[in-house]
Symmetry: C2
Subunit: 279 residues, 2 copies
Amino acid sequence: MAPGLFVDGRPAASLPLPDRGFAYGDGLFETLLVRGVAPAWLALHADRLATGLAQLGIPAPPWREHLAASLAAYDAPAEAWLTLRLTVTRGGGPRGYPPPATPLPRTVIEIAPAPLDPLVAPAPLRTATATLRWAQQPALAGLKHLNRLEQVLAARECRERGLDELLVCDTAGWLVAATRGNLFLLRGDVLATPDLAACGIAGTRRRLVLDTLAPALGLEVEVAALAPGALASADAVFCCNSLRGIVAVGRHEQRQWRAHPVIERLQAAYREALCANLG
Amino acid sequence: MAPGLFVDGRPAASLPLPDRGFAYGDGLFETLLVRGVAPAWLALHADRLATGLAQLGIPAPPWREHLAASLAAYDAPAEAWLTLRLTVTRGGGPRGYPPPATPLPRTVIEIAPAPLDPLVAPAPLRTATATLRWAQQPALAGLKHLNRLEQVLAARECRERGLDELLVCDTAGWLVAATRGNLFLLRGDVLATPDLAACGIAGTRRRLVLDTLAPALGLEVEVAALAPGALASADAVFCCNSLRGIVAVGRHEQRQWRAHPVIERLQAAYREALCANLG
């Protein structure tokens, strides 16, 4: 039995086949930060998942029950930081692309120790602009679906170039995100982040920054088309995702930034909100 | 045990997890037409698979051995027409997008009776242009990788509209393919098919038509950017894939076509080549 693996809430070692998640990437996932048995910002993940399920036409399985059952069975210490991947697929069905009329969706949950302590700000990132560009597809933009080969290729390029992260543009040349998180640029008192109407994943921590953390610090937020040239003139740049929180970019190609007080205040606000959210 | 399912050449009911094919669609597949234990045009499938593996940086598993073992175990009558899906994934690995340095790829084979007799030409298709457009991604174009949500969405639209097939354009407005096959337009003695440098799957039967069947009938072939307007002025239109062979389009929106002698000759040449290929 693979430790930390659950299918439809029950311990498992493998995925029943056929499964359209495997066949076509016909499904969605969420990467949750968990402390003990408490997932952080579950409501933001649930919102994005619901949006994706509706858009793909997948009926929602009882994933909350499966999540609770899986965490109870995993039985981690209350103070342990965990990473939990929750995948919902359209389930089985006959051969071929057309989705079954009455799908039986499947929930797969994988739990493991978190890769780092989310209460400690990671070291600033060394980044560059990716050579690979991501495709524009408004019908899927924003969703955290299972078609993630573009992220795999970008992550491979990142490793080959020996960097911490790459910042990726879409095929039209606009900034989208980092390979594993969203992107923010500080310009004066304005925090700008790429518009994701055509490309990218609408991260839960991006939404937290836009809706909660930035306004609380008196920062104006702007969701806009951003060219890579905007990086050089930014006062500060950071990435965010569910496992690492807010991470400053220390260097992007020739441009370097020192620690910036606004990022430090955002990181402190993030840690405080995380602890409050976990109760 | 699910009948006809094999993992790494052994009968199986499920996919061991973690698997990056499931997590990210990090892999490739081929849909083979098989008679008894003989796959049709295996060399064309092997070529495309090798191209995809090289492009994704996945080392080739011993998939030919797995294929032979699976077909031997399935033990179908020599005259039976089968459909065989051969999937190669990057296998397991640590959490996250970066591919493992030394992947252990996995071969998954699913065998079932073929949905139709490939020696009988299917009825002409009623088609329309899809509302959904497919993304341009030169880094993945041509490959039959596991990120196929766009095909799923197009197939769903096709069913909702009550048609046999949809012809799909890319986000720049160029014709790409049908939801489950490649597309050819006959214009005089020239057989034209969309260029797939930015979008689409380079089908084995497309290549067969371009390289072998069309030249043998004295047709000139053209791989080009084709606008949807080219359909109305075409003398004949057909789709092709591994399971259905060459299928005429009988009606596209307001435009109708009668049976065309060139398509009938191509279909006859296809059937003859299929029987010859299977020995």
